[in-house]
Subunit: 538 residues, 2 copies
């Protein structure tokens, strides 16, 4: 049985741009369009040429090789001809393969937002689509508020979609603009539309996540006959976001319910690049990836050593809904106070650390880890510190250097101009090969100052740590109140692109930060010597 | 037409505990159980008594008033009688109203994980349920891997569920343990089970979010006849999390598709507390709320100044899938915030602060608060700081004292006995009535030292603040990396039993802590003069 093609349409650069706090530069857009194009998405919607300088510049050239490059814009205004509508004209001049026109399909909005008659709106749709086609571009129409519009006036909503289709639109996209429609409604309304004469092969779905149903609505529409899905990378978008293509794609490829009937431009081979794509996008947005994201999250295949862990190790397949590797992710059985011997061996093995099941040092390690976790350490979140601790316990970490002492000072006072200022200064004494290095530095805060001072002069190791960067810093106060314990987690990275987490715990936040910083530096030196870092590099 | 009841079962404290990075203390569990109980959830699953000291202690007393208090555990092992099974015995001794037994329903796992025969497993289910019922507790059975089990061996999966039901289980819960099942499969399998003789009114659904379908699967199961939904607060849980009750509840209450047929224990009035519940839970986890969460997210009803904003202001209803107020959230239009002013007036009124709607000082206050929140302050979590800021802006906070300067020092070195020790010392200069007080103190950490020094001598005010206590201290790093901003929240209390939160924000954690400490002391002095503290005393 031949499988039907589901067309993938990405609107990260257009609707995704509506995400609070996200503003793409032209360079960002070029980078993201390239990622999507190389991954194999069918259509990349780049933005709204004419609406702002960024998008206009972005559309001054075609930005994709394989993918259809789509410009978004409005249908012509009522009362002017398509050729005399400045907005539409700019749209047609954009260096795009296709144009996606947004059209009102809820009569209420035609009146309130457009202030024209229902017939004038249909005419705008008709003439605008024709203009796009005559211009030699592929035409699509986003029917805004389609589902709410259908509930208010089914005849008119269908008329809008039908007009677009009859005028030559290759795709008529049904938008759940307010994001409140539920899957059963989606199924019924799509079926009604197909019954009205628009083939599912020309219909698309554009869902929003306002009720956590964007993925379900997209797939419900496909079940009902729709053959194009619009979404964004990692589900970014206005309000609660758009349908997440990073979730929908693997479901279409790997879940029998869909894979047996449908195919997409993303084959099994390309699918392995999914996790990288998702993480690279977050990297570009400069935000830490959501650990709980379906398929690609750092925790998506992580098991806290509870009732499942030991059985999981016996036979992963029956405890995982898909193979982590199929989406470029990997299995993680976390070390935690619930953990057993099997987990430790498995964790050590993954890190390329060989130790015999009956080696007494293994029991020591388990004891030490449990003891430390009881006192506040969280190794499940600090891979590198766990690896160092394991290597130390098994006796294979050289003494690179020793910190004799440090002093951190924060002072807040009025400066010579009578203005309040706060100064943070740190002094660190390090012993390298019997030579004492003393470094002093100022920083934004005490931890920053300490970090700078610690890494200012490590003698013969200095050149090795120049590319070490502090990527993230997290603090957690464990048991509130005065005798609180502070846990610090630090994420580090280096030129190789590797990332690793280290942990420090103390009643003193400076002390805790110092431990995590030290672990990070030592781990970097071990990594440089290929004595550690298998995971970090993954 | 009478609506059918959908029973809400929360497993935040049990399955939610499996979330990477989350480890509840007994105090956490008591606080969360109280939140859920007061909100109106039907069942609160508290954990696994006998599995760890925390849960055992937690179940030494009943922790809910209205909600059914549920203990989770395994069915008896094969080969021993229910009365001789130590695990089951501990479970029955727990101070719970109901017991939820997890049972294998996939024959493969019966063999591999339990290592007993299919018949022995059915017997364990039967006898364990009977033991719970005879013990006078309500019995529920979580059928682990039910959907995957059904696909592998439908007859056996149904037999497991049927055995539990026939033995007297009030609820038979269908678990999609691996989280990979899709809505169409859920519908078919639930229908088959009901056809096999278990009424939907005794069936529950326990979904995981591994394909982003946990909400959709829960509701698909309800469509198919299931009448209990299990989920967690904010969807926490193993891997990608559990079904998010914070999303499902408003959908059941507000979406016609469901609201016309079903009702839950959460009426429209309780529903208004949803956003507060969700945020309070994140606060307790000391993590920043997800801005894009359906219904309760900070961006859930936010519109970026795009094509919608202006029309939205004309008529919000047609641009919002539900009214923000219905879930205790509010509209944010980033161009001009209409909902804002009313909110502020309410907040001030609640605090007994009178100000006229057209008082220009009110606009100043709104401006200042928005500006500060944009720079990292979080006044919803810091009542006292908000109240002080309001009173200052409206010009009614006396200058009790002024801190001229402070200095904090943390030193780590070897003491005279060659042992490493870390010392934290703070010096504070305060001006009271033209008199300069200089105080020095040591503490567990820099913040503790600063706190002690600041409150050591406030001259004539000293006697007033003797009963002031620091109850909790929270730190959050706002935008990770090097140019991170630190937000500190401090909870204070005094002899009157009142509690208040203050906030400080700075790139320097000591500075941020100092701001929060200062606010707390000034608030205490205002409170003593009945010039503030209406909320804190509530």
């Amino acid at each position: 049985m031949t499988r039907e093609k589901i067309t993938l349409f990405d609107t990260t650069l257009r609707d995704g741009q509506q995400t609070p706090g996200i503003d793409f530069s032209v360079e960002d857009k070029i980078a993201i369009a390239t990622m999507l194009d190389e991954f194999g998405i069918d259509y990349v919607e780049g933005g709204y040429p004419g609406a702002n300088p960024t998008d206009t510049t972005f559309f001054s050239r075609k930005r994709t090789r394989q993918a259809g490059f789509v410009a978004f814009g409005m249908t012509k205004r009522a009362g002017v001809s398509a050729s005399n509508d400045p907005g539409l004209t700019q749209l047609l001049q954009a260096k795009a393969d296709a144009v996606c026109l947004v059209a009102k399909s809820w009569d209420y909005h035609v009146k309130v937002a457009l202030g024209c008659t229902n017939e004038e709106n249909l005419e705008s749709i008709r003439d605008s689509v024709k203009a796009v086609v005559e211009n030699g571009k592929l035409a699509m129409v986003d029917c805004e508020h389609f589902f709410d519009g259908y509930k208010a006036n089914p005849t008119y909503a269908i008329a809008c979609a039908k007009t677009a289709y009859d005028a030559g639109a290759r795709w008529v996209v049904l938008c759940d603009t307010n994001g409140g429609t539920q899957p059963p409604e989606i199924r019924l309304i799509v079926q009604a539309l197909i019954a009205a004469g628009i083939p599912g092969s020309s219909l698309g779905i554009h869902a929003h996540n306002d009720t956590g149903q964007a993925v379900a609505n997209s797939l419900a529409a496909v079940e009902a006959g729709v053959r194009q899905i619009q979404g964004t990378l990692n589900g970014i978008g206005e309000r609660c976001g758009n349908a997440d293509l990073v979730t929908i794609i693997p479901t279409l490829c790997l879940k029998e319910t869909y894979a047996s009937r449908f195919e997409t431009s993303i084959d099994r081979e390309k699918l392995v690049g999914l996790t990288r794509l998702s993480r690279a996008f977050d990297e570009l947005l400069n935000r830490s990836p959501n650990h709980q994201s379906p398929y690609v999250g750092g925790s998506a295949f992580a098991t806290k050593a509870g009732i499942h862990a030991s059985a999981l190790l016996k036979d992963p397949k029956t405890y995982e809904h898909v193979e982590p590797e199929s989406v470029g992710n990997f299995r993680k059985v976390m070390v935690s106070d619930q953990g057993g011997k099997a987990n430790f061996l498995n964790e050590l093995k993954r890190r390329g650390i060989a130790v015999a099941k009956d080696d007494p040092k293994l029991d020591t390690l388990i004891y030490v880890v449990k003891e430390r976790e009881a006192s506040g350490y969280a190794y499940e979140g600090a891979d590198a510190s766990f690896e160092l601790l394991a290597l130390k316990t098994l006796g294979s970490v050289p003494d690179f250097f020793a910190v004799e002492s440090f002093r951190v000072m924060v002072e807040r006072r009025f400066d010579s101009h009578g203005k309040l200022k706060t100064v943070s200064e740190a002094v660190v004494k390090v012993l390298v090969d019997g030579e004492m290095m003393m470094s002093v530095a100022e920083g934004d805060g005490p931890v920053n100052a300490l970090d700078i001072a610690l890494r200012k002069d490590l003698g013969k190791y200095q050149s090795e740590i120049l590319d070490l960067e502090l990527a993230d810093y997290k603090v957690r106060i464990l048991n509130g109140g005065t005798e609180a314990i502070t846990r610090v987690l630090i994420e580090s990275t280096d030129a190789s692109g590797a990332r690793w987490w280290t942990v420090g715990v103390s009643e003193n936040i400076i002390d805790a930060s110092f431990q995590a910083l030290m672990d990070s530096v030592v781990y970097k030196l071990m990594k440089n010597r290929k004595l550690a870092g298998k995971i970090a590099a993954e």
